[in-house]
Each structure stands twice: as structure tokens, then as C-alpha cells.
Amino acid sequence: MALLPQNLSFSRRILPIIALVGLAFAVFFIWRGLPDRSLSEPDQEPARATGALANSSRVAGAGLVEPSSEIIDIGTALSGLVTDLRVQPGDYVTKGQPLFTVDDRAARARIGETNAAIGEARAAIAEAQTAQRTAEAQLALYRSVEDSAAVSRSEVIKAEGDASSARSRLQLARARLAAAQAALSSARTELGRLTIRAPITGEILAVNIRPGEFVSTMGGNSQPFIRMGETRPLYIRIDIDESEAPRIKLGAPALVSPRGAADRQVNAEFVRAEPLVVPKTSLTNSASERVDVRVLQVLYQLPADAEGAEQLFRVGQQVDAFIPAVDGENNGGGKTQETAE
């Protein structure tokens, strides 16, 4: 054992140390290199059922915010150019308020025309009345002559004819006046139809026309001219998969949150369930689109006084909703939960 520190043996001393240090390093490396597979909480709050719904049976659905009147696509009664636009998106209009006017020059010209026709008819009446009076006077004169030889029979007949024809002309002129007045009224109606008015009190949601554009009664434009609806209050139309529909507890309030602000939930009051189950609208743009999912649409009313609801919910926005389910019915789901708890 005469091994002195100065003649250090590589094989006996250094190599084992290298091996041990190497092992320690390897352990460290392996420990450091193990992949991080821990579960993490999502950064942003996902939509989740809170409160009493958090751990009880429920039905979830996605929906759209809509006006309580549903969206009204304003049409036009007459085709023509838009001359004046009186509203802009966001305006709150009352029933009957003008929204826009269509070019009314033709209608106004017709009014002028019919006014002229009325004047003409009135003049014709005056003229006919004069003629009638003359003829009547002439006839009265002939009739007052007692000597039958003084006036020939034919003269009398002619005077009678004149009087009768003057009466007819007066009647004709009166009829013309009535016709012209009717035409005026019709022209005025047409003028009125060229001003499009709000059918209900509500908010203007979209305006897709500008002055100078042509609006047609045939549609033509793919977009509706003006979209409006009663936004006080707002409704929410929630699509429920038909297979989930029997579980839903109708009448119970729903917990609703808009996309992107899942932490701000509000309670929405039940309004009604649509009697018609409709195909789910899925926007795949596929030519051979088929539908096998049908949805029950349930309407809920957003509370008007919800804090910041004005900013939170807008028409057309997507929302996530949670609705209480009927307990422990039809598919055992509820029962398992009860036993699990």
C-alpha cells in the first residue's frame, strides 16, 4: 500500500473519480431534462358554469344576442334612388319616424300634373256652367213665347237639346274634377310611400344604403337596406342540441356570458322556447351540405339593469349559456352525479 499522493494512479484513483463525477452529472442532467408535463391553468378564463350550476346537472348551449323584436330588415315599397338618409347606425328611432326617402321628383311632377288637371277640370266646369246657363236662358225664352207661330218647333227642339247637352257637359266636367282629385290623392299616397318610416320603436342596427344608391323592390342587393330592432331589452336565442332538449328545465333562468368575457356572467330570464325545432346553422360553406343536427331554440331576456350590459352584449354576438337541467331524468346522467356526490 505504498501509494503516495505524488504518484497518483490514473486507473486506480482518477478514473473512478471521473466515473463518479460523470454519474453525478448524468443524474443532474437527466433530472433537469425530464419534460415538464404538469397541468397548468388556462391563462384566460374559459366559459364555466358557476354558482349553483357548477356541480349540478345542466344543459349548455351557444347562442346569439338578438333584439327582442328580432331583426327587421327594412324594405322599400317603391324602387328608386335614395335621396335622403335620415338615420345612422345606433340611432334610437320612434315608430313612424322617417328612415330614408326615395327619389320623389316623378311623384311630385305627377302631383303638379294632377293639380293642373284639377284646375282644368274646374275651368271646364265653369265653362259648362256658363254654357248651361246660356242654353237654359235660351230655352226659357222660347218657352215663354206663347204664340206658337212666332217660334218654329225646330228652334225649340234645338234649344232643348242645347240645354240638355250643356247639363251633360257640366256632369262630365265634374266627373273630370273627381278623377283629377283622385289622381292627386293617388300621387300623394305615392309620395308618402317614397318616404320609408320606422315600423316600430327601436334601434338602427345597420345601414347598408347611401344617398344616390338604387333601392329595388325586387331585392337585387344582397344586403337588407336598413336593419333595426327593439334592443330594450335584448333577447338571447340559445341553440340546444335536440338530444339535450328533453333535459332542459324550461322556465329557469340561464347563466350567460359573452365570448371572450367568460368571467362576466349575467342571469337571463326565460322568455319562451320556439315551438319549431330547426336545423343547426353550421357555417361550413360546403356545397354538399347536409344537416343531421337539429336544435331547439330557447329565448332568454337579458336583464336591462345588468351592470355594463350595454357594453357587454351586442346584437349578433355569440354567447355561452348554462341552463339548469331537469334532475335525474331519462339518461341516468343525473343519477350518476348524485351517487358520485
Partner: protein
């Protein structure tokens, strides 16, 4: 006395280093091959592990892995959300698409659409850019390995791609483990992904679910399956499913199994032959030791310490070699995310102990029978 054993061992340098080499080499072979084998298999689970916040994956009953999935109707999301114990559920789409690069090349890519509002489904880390870029129109985030493949030597940031006739702009690079096929992965929002993936009627590939407090993921999967009729798997189950898919559908387990076996055989052969030769050469010395009255037990101890020292040094160097190999290639995209599972060094250690004891025991039998007179022969 034991020090004598070590001096005996290191006396003949050639034999000593031969022994070390044999052990280190077979350790290296077994450890390194097992490591690559395990990592390759776990590539099948990378799609699952890249999503860090989902406890449970819900899919169509026929779906098998994160890449072999059959789409569900979009109302499946609401069905899952309706299950008690589901804290949150978000849609997740995984689809294949062809992308046209600026040069006009066509490249198959995987499109992953994550929930629009919460971005759940993105990998945990970003190499460049932030996840907020997805709020910009037509944004996609590319995975780092895909970026290196698709834009070799250039930064992919700001590159324009054409996907299903739609524009896509790369605005971020995600730190993700590549899939088994190393397909380029583009992450985008769910609504955007619907436009990028050529359309079929049903698009929703998965629903990612977070379990509420107080319910285990396993329990939740049973509840979801019972209530919705869909297939639900916990994260680990689904990751294992991806691994099993590769085992069932590729020749990897067989090929690597053979390599590991060869490493073992080579190790046994080299170590066994050298060790028994070494013992045989030293049989005179053992004989002399016996002649001066050293017991068989003491000699067994000596052989054991010799074997232990050779084994320890060889094993240490072998593991160090594996570590060096993995760390040297860690920047290579092919080896991205490779790690040494802690079980593997233990397995190779066990194999090493087995080899050493086996050969030591065989060699020792000769020594035990040696008569002290052997020193005179």
C-alpha cells in the same frame, strides 16, 4: 487485501481498459437505444402533451389518437359542457391541409385550431412572438421544428402562406414537441382553422375539458361517456393511446428491441470473455493467495470488488456517453424534446449488474477450484 485486488485489476492496463470499454459500450448501447426508442414512441403522445391545460380529451368513439380523429358535430361541445363536473370545455380542431409557400412549393401541414376566446390548446411556451398575435387577422403560429423544415435558414416571421385559397401570415413560433411524422404544425384560432381546413360537414375533432375541483379526471371521463355517448380519455390515457398506436402500427418496437438485445449480447460477450480471461490469467496469483491462507470467501470478495469497480466506472462512462450524445444532438430538430427517462439508466444499471454477476460468477468458479499448488505450475 482488497487494495491488492484493485492493483491486480489495474495491473494489466490493456485488459483493464478492454473491460471498461466493453461495459461502457454496452451501457451506452442499451441506454442510448432505449432512450431513443422511448422518445420516438412518445412522439406519438406529443400532440397530447403539447396541450398543457386539458385534464380530459373528448372525442368521437372511433377516434384513436390526436392525429387519427373523426370529427364530431359542433353541438358535442355543448353536450360536454352540460356534464356536471366539467369546469370548462373548449373546442379543438386538428386537420390536415396543404400549404403553398412563397416559392410555390406544396407542403402538407397539420392545422390546429384552438379556442378563440381562451387560446386553450396552444403549447405552453413561445420561442418568438406572443400568443396574442392570433387576434390579428389571418395569423398562424408555426412550431419551431416545422419552421426549421419549411423555412431553412430563414426566419418564418411575417411569411405569407396560402392555405385552402386563404391567406395566412406566420406571426409567431411556438415551442412544441414535434409529432411522430414531424409534420409542420400551424396553430390558429378555431374559427380561422375552419377556413383553412378543407371542409367537411363536421369539423370539431376534440373537446378539451378541465375538471372541476374535487373530481378526478378518471371519474369525469366516465361521467362524460355515460351522459354524452362520446369517448372521453384522461390526458395520460390519451397520451398512452398515441404511443400504443405507434407500437401497433410501426416496426419500431421490434427493431429497437433487437438493438437493445444486441447491445446486451455484445456487452455480455466482451465483458464476460475479458473478465474470465483476466481471472484465468491471474489464477496463479489467486493460487499464491490461497497458499498463504486466504479463504475462498475473501477471494470471492476480491473478485466482487474487481467486478464492482470495473462495472461502476464502465457504467458511469456509458451513461455519461449517453448524456453527452443526447445533449450534443439536443439542438437538432430531429431530437427536439428528447430526454432520458430516469427509469432507463436504472434498467441499464440492472442489465450491467446482471452481466457482471454472471461473468464474475462463472470466472469465480474456476478460482474456487484452484488449488494452492497452481502457483507452481
Amino acid at each position: 487485501m482488497l487494495w491488492i485486488a484493485i492493483r491486480m485489476l489495474t495491473g494489466d492496463r490493456q485488459k483493464f481498459y478492454g473491460l471498461l470499454f466493453g461495459i461502457a459500450f454496452s451501457t451506452l448501447l442499451i441506454t442510448q437505444q432505449l432512450t431513443i426508442f422511448v422518445n420516438l414512441l412518445e412522439r406519438g403522445a406529443s400532440g397530447v402533451y403539447n396541450v398543457s391545460s386539458a385534464d380530459v380529451w373528448v372525442m368521437d368513439p372511433v377516434s384513436r389518437t390526436s392525429d387519427v380523429a373523426y370529427a364530431m358535430p359542433s353541438t358535442a361541445l355543448d353536450q360536454v359542457r352540460g356534464v356536471a363536473g366539467v369546469e370548462w370545455a373548449v373546442p379543438h380542431i386538428r386537420g390536415q391541409a396543404s400549404v403553398r409557400t412563397k416559392d410555390g412549393d406544396l407542403e402538407g401541414v397539420a392545422i390546429i385550431g384552438v379556442d378563440d376566446a381562451t387560446l386553450i390548446g396552444l403549447p405552453k411556451g413561445m420561442i418568438e412572438g406572443s400568443t396574442d398575435v392570433l387576434s390579428q387577422p389571418d395569423s398562424v403560429i408555426i412550431d419551431d421544428v416545422g419552421a426549421a423544415r419549411m423555412f431553412p435558414g430563414a426566419s418564418p416571421m411575417g411569411e405569407r402562406l396560402e392555405l385552402n385559397d386563404q391567406r395566412a401570415v406566420v406571426r409567431g413560433i411556438a415551442d412544441a414537441i414535434p409529432s411522430f411524422t414531424s409534420t409542420v404544425v400551424l396553430y390558429t384560432k378555431y374559427s380561422q382553422a375552419l377556413r383553412y381546413v378543407p371542409g367537411t360537414r363536421n369539423r370539431l375533432s376534440f373537446v378539451l375539458v378541465g375538471a372541476a375541483d374535487g373530481i378526478s379526471a378518471k371519474e369525469l371521463t366516465e361521467r362524460i361517456e355515460k351522459q354524452t355517448g362520446l369517448k372521453a380519455e384522461t390526458r395520460d390515457e390519451f397520451a398512452q393511446g398515441g404511443v400504443n398506436f405507434i407500437i401497433e402500427n410501426t416496426g419500431i418496437p421490434l427493431n429497437f428491441g433487437i438493438t437493445v438485445l444486441l447491445g446486451f449480447i455484445v456487452g455480455v460477450a466482451i465483458v464476460g470473455l475479458t473478465f474470465s480471461l483476466f481471472i484465468r490469467d491471474n489464477i496463479k496469483q489467486f493460487g499464491a493467495l490461497k497458499a498463504i491462507g486466504v479463504t475462498n470467501g475473501k477471494i470471492a470478495q476480491m473478485v466482487a470488488i474487481q467486478a464492482g469497480m470495473v462495472g461502476m466506472i464502465g457504467y458511469g462512462l456509458g451513461v455519461l456517453g449517453t448524456v453527452g450524445f443526447i445533449s450534443a444532438f439536443s439542438n437538432n430538430p430531429t431530437f427536439k424534446g428528447f430526454y432520458i427517462p430516469w427509469q432507463i439508466p436504472l434498467i441499464s444499471f440492472a442489465a450491467m449488474v446482471l452481466i457482471i454477476t454472471l461473468t464474475g460468477w462463472v470466472a469465480l468458479r474456476g478460482v474456487m477450484k484452484t488449488e494452492p499448488a497452481a502457483v507452481f505450475r
